[in-house]
């Protein structure tokens, strides 16, 4: 059953008026499809709400197009075009491997032999493999010589194979780095192949795959090199692969482990010895150029590999000693690349249509809606963002595109049976999830583990991202999440008649304060969890200089992200990286020594553990999460403080705030933030409303807030399981209002925006969007405040 026959993506999330945006469409079956650009205002189909709101836009690209199939060739590998030196008569291949799936289930999506290194295809050439039985195998033309020792997964092994064309002798070495007491020995496998001459073809030399075929089909142009389709994707690490042009002795192989080693001779020739200098074809060092898409060859020919589909680098190698956790300080221990069969850096599809966005186009949320006569449908969301200096409104909505990328094509409902413990109900999968469950080549999210079970830390936006779609309910809440949830906010702004611009995370990352300084107020999305350092810098610069920030959600400013510099030529923020390190809500956990980003070399993990507390950005930070149902807020006495009482004009003190909504049925739900002056909330922060005591057992305190496991952490018991709506002034007439719940925006459009959450947010927005600084706080509010002295009367008595 084809769950989706139409899928597509655009070359950018945000396009300026006057610029071009390109769209790439896979139309697998139908002959034609229609394109209609729409303003996308509400994506939530909940019958209790306004329903889908999309408004057709006149666009030169609207029309009917011939459909054609486009395919993603996932799986990371290294390759170099054919060269005379790769056409060896005799050879030695060697390197270290740490395989994660040496043997797979027969139904596994890429079941079969895995290519380690070589130049082999269709019974021609030479190569080192892990065969279908999980054993090391060398292939010379049609000959396959293997050990009968299944390779231990998640362990380092030294592997090598040599072939002497003159004698016909093949030797295969599998030498585990770790040998346990009851492991059988694995002697070298020796075999004579009489009269065998290696046949050569013009295929590339490859690492972590083999060439499956040359393919003239149009869709195969998306492979790298174009028209050469790889097979046998390898899952696991490879460290220090080498190719020599003769059969080395075991001693020479040992010496070749050292690689090119130009320092061994005053002549600085490549080769650890004079004799081996004539044997080296390639001696690759993956610790060089970790932030590039190249696998550096330190040998004499400089046959640098093109690294395709962005595997994980800055990975600990076979010699990691655990003394240094930063690859920049001990690169020689980071010679491994971890390849995965579901890595994807760029779908590389051919352009299906493009739109020259007219210069007078309103900044807003848009989609290219794709439909067929047979009822197929897909939407490609994008945002028209003004050029810096050509802002169209006083209000800007920050579309949290890094967070969208982090959640892109998330598979948790399918992969993680345990996700049910998180959501406290049986997950509901939609057609997008069903399609992705089968089409692993579309890649996963940073919440997923790769198909080999290892953590997924890199996400590309140059692929169809089916979780960024209207009409998509996420299994976490059985309701909109991220993009469609942020459309609740867009919908409300339209209901209320506000004029607003939209900008994206990458705009702020690249343009800094210039991108935001001309706005009177910035409004975040419902869940801006994933942020780059430059983006946070800009937000702090903004609020410090009198800007106003409305933080419309929760669990924001949580994870460290960086954009991969090797993809800058394709646009802004093409690939984002995030590592799940020592704490935080982690669906996987980085291995020791693998906390530093390959993109920028910075320490990954939570901003909190970089000394950048979440609470410093907008006043509140995450304290708990639960995904069954949401609740509501009550005002606190601090809401009557004249510094903030204006926000509650028209709202009674005893009103239940937000006991309605399209996410969990209330405004306080899913992930919740609180004020904590010990974690960076300014000491003058006012908590104006809270949902304390109203959450279910499904809500649990975040693990970074406690030191050991004990009972009493859930919503029915723990006082930190709550959401605080909070306000604080920033210098120079600025301010932050934090609404502190991901479900919050889901209450805004309720009853067509006639509700007390809408009233509260409207009051705040009306004040924050005015020109000039905010009215100053009363003089009585200017006083010395500590961080811990809010709630320690005992200490005060002692004084």
């Amino acid at each position: 059953m084809a769950w989706m026959r139409l899928t597509g993506y655009a070359d950018k999330f945000g396009v300026h008026p006057g610029d071009k945006i390109r769209f790439y469409v896979n139309c697998d079956g139908p002959k034609n499809y229609d394109v209609q650009v729409m303003r996308m205002i509400n994506g939530d189909t909940n019958p209790r709400g306004p329903g889908l709101v999309e408004k057709p836009v006149k666009a030169s690209c609207n029309g009917n197009y011939a459909g054609r199939r486009q395919v993603i060739y996932s799986g990371s590998y290294g390759c170099h075009k054919d060269e005379p030196e790769f056409r060896v008569d005799s050879f030695t291949l060697q390197g270290w491997i740490w395989p994660t799936t040496p043997k797979t289930h027969p139904k596994y999506w890429k079941h079969g032999a895995q290519g380690l290194m070589g130049k082999w295809s269709k019974n021609k050439g030479y190569g080192l493999f892990i065969n279908e039985e999980g054993c090391l195998e060398v292939r010379i033309n049609e000959h396959k010589i293997a050990t009968n020792a299944p390779i231990r997964d998640h362990a380092w092994h030294f592997v090598a194979a040599s072939f002497n064309a003159a004698t016909g002798e093949v030797v295969l070495y599998h030498e585990p780095q770790i040998v346990y007491a009851l492991d059988p020995p694995i002697p070298p496998v020796k075999k004579k192949l009489g009269g065998v001459k290696i046949k050569h073809d013009d295929i590339p030399f490859t690492v972590a795959c083999y060439v499956d075929r040359k393919d003239t089909a149009p869709e195969a142009r998306a492979s790298v090199p174009a028209g050469v389709v790889m097979g046998g994707p390898y899952n696991g690490k490879i460290d220090s692969p080498r190719l020599c042009n003769r059969a080395l002795s075991r001693l020479e192989i040992e010496t070749m482990k050292q690689g090119a080693q130009r320092g061994m001779s005053e002549r600085r020739h490549a080769g650890p010895t004079g004799e081996l200098a004539t044997a080296i074809v390639g001696a690759w060092d993956f610790s060089a150029g970790i932030n590039t898409a190249m696998g550096h060859d330190k040998g004499p020919f400089r046959y640098d590999l093109t690294i395709v589909n962005c595997p994980t680098r800055a990975m600990t190698g076979h010699n990691f000693s655990g003394h240094n956790f930063d690859w920049k300080h001990a690169p020689e221990e980071y010679g491994a690349i971890h390849f995965h069969d579901d890595d994807v850096d760029d779908a590389r599809w051919e352009v299906s249509f493009e739109w020259d966005v007219p210069a007078d186009t309103k900044s807003d949320s848009y989609v290219a809606k794709l439909t067929t006569k047979d009822g197929d449908e897909d939407y490609i969301p994008f945002f028209v963002t003004p050029r810096v200096g050509q802002e169209q409104s006083k209000i800007a909505v920050i579309i949290p595109t890094i967070s969208y990328m982090a959640y892109a094509n998330e598979h948790l409902a399918n992969n993680a049976g345990g996700a049910e413990l998180l959501v406290y109900r049986v997950p509901i999968m939609q057609h997008q999830n069903m399609f992705l469950a089968e089409h692993r080549e579309y890649g996963g999210s940073i919440y997923d583990t790769h198909t080999d079970g290892s953590g997924l830390c890199l996400s590309s936006r140059l692929r169809p991202i089916l979780s960024i779609r209207p009409k998509y309910d996420h299994f976490l809440m059985q309701a909109p999440w991220q993009y469609p949830a942020d459309l609740h906010l867009i919908c409300w702004l339209n209901q209320m008649g506000y004029k607003y611009d939209v900008i994206t995370d990458e705009d702020i990352n690249y343009d800094g304060l210039a991108r935001i300084k001309n706005y009177n107020v910035l409004i975040t999305g419902s869940h801006p969890e994933h942020n780059s350092g430059p983006e946070l810098d800009a937000l702090h610069d903004y609020t410090q200089q009198g800007g106003r920030l409305m933080y419309m959600g929760a669990d924001g400013w949580y994870w460290v992200h960086s954009f991969h510099p090797a993809y800058e030529h394709l646009g802004r923020g093409v690939i984002t990286e995030m590592r799940r390190c020592e704490s935080g809500i982690r669906t996987w956990r980085a291995d020791p020594g693998e906390y530093y980003h390959q993109s920028t070399g910075e320490l990954g993990g939570m901003w909190r553990y970089r000394g950048r507390y979440l609470h410093t950005v907008a006043g509140t930070g995450m304290s708990s999460e639960g995904f069954d149902i949401s609740s509501y807020y009550s005002r606190t006495p601090e809401s009557n403080d004249p510094r903030v009482a204006w926000a509650f004009d028209g709202i009674g003190y005893d009103e239940k705030l937000g006991n309605f909504g399209f996410v969990g049925g209330g405004a306080a739900g899913t992930e919740l933030d609180i004020v904590d002056t010990m974690l960076g909330s300014p000491p003058h922060t006012l908590v104006v409303a809270t949902s304390a005591g109203r959450h279910t057992e499904a809500y649990l305190l975040v693990m970074e807030d406690y030191g050991f496991n004990q009972q009493g952490l859930d919503g029915t018991q723990h006082p930190r399981v709550r959401s605080d709506i909070a306000y604080h002034e920033t210098p120079n007439g600025g301010g932050c209002f934090a609404f502190s719940s991901i479900a919050f925006c889901g209450s805004l459009p309720w009853n067509n925006g006639k509700n007390n959450i809408s009233k509260l947010v409207g009051n705040v927005l009306d004040r924050f969007m005015k020109d000039g600084p905010l009215p100053p706080a009363p003089k009585s509010a200017i006083k010395h405040r500590g961080r811990a002295d809010y709630d320690q009367p005992l200490n005060k008595k002692r004084k």
Partner: protein, 146 residues
């Protein structure tokens, strides 16, 4: 470990009744849990269910903690209109398959039917020493690690 109550037992009937009442009361909520809404479809006040029936709470946790292989799941076949019950394969790249022909017109009812199916399918107890198998050493134990 809390045992899955036997067929025909009073405990089982009580749990089924409570589960159904909770699920029915959640109809209309975007999200749901096994608690009773005082006003149907409105989460302002909730009670009963997992907060007051300890055994139901623990049985549900055991069901939720089962590994992905063959785990029952809800599949939305027409947005806001139709839902069916399927099973996860537990194998990457192998999508879930439908297990019944029943088509639901709301997203809550399949939750209850899956509860009933699991009551029948799950062993009365697991996780005790007599259930030891080698997988316990290799992360294929009952509790899913992400």
């Amino acid at each position: 470990m809390i045992r899955i109550p036997k067929k025909g037992s009073k405990e089982r009937e009580r749990m089924i009744k409570e589960h159904k009442a909770c699920i029915d009361s959640m109809k209309g909520v975007a999200g749901c849990t096994i608690l009773r809404c005082k006003t149907p479809g409105d989460t302002t006040e909730v009670s009963g269910g997992i907060h007051e029936d300890f055994q139901l709470n623990r049985v549900l946790l055991r069901m939720r903690g089962q590994p992905a292989r063959n785990k029952l799941v809800v599949i939305c076949t027409k947005v806001e209109k139709e839902w069916r019950i399927g099973r996860l394969s537990g194998i990457r790249g192998v999508p879930p398959v439908f297990v019944t022909d029943k088509v639901y017109d709301n997203e809550q009812d399949p939750q209850h039917d899956i509860f009933l199916m699991r009551l029948d399918e799950l062993a009365e107890s697991d996780g005790m020493p007599e259930h030891f198998h080698e997988g316990w050493k290799r992360r294929s134990d009952n509790w899913v690690a992400t």
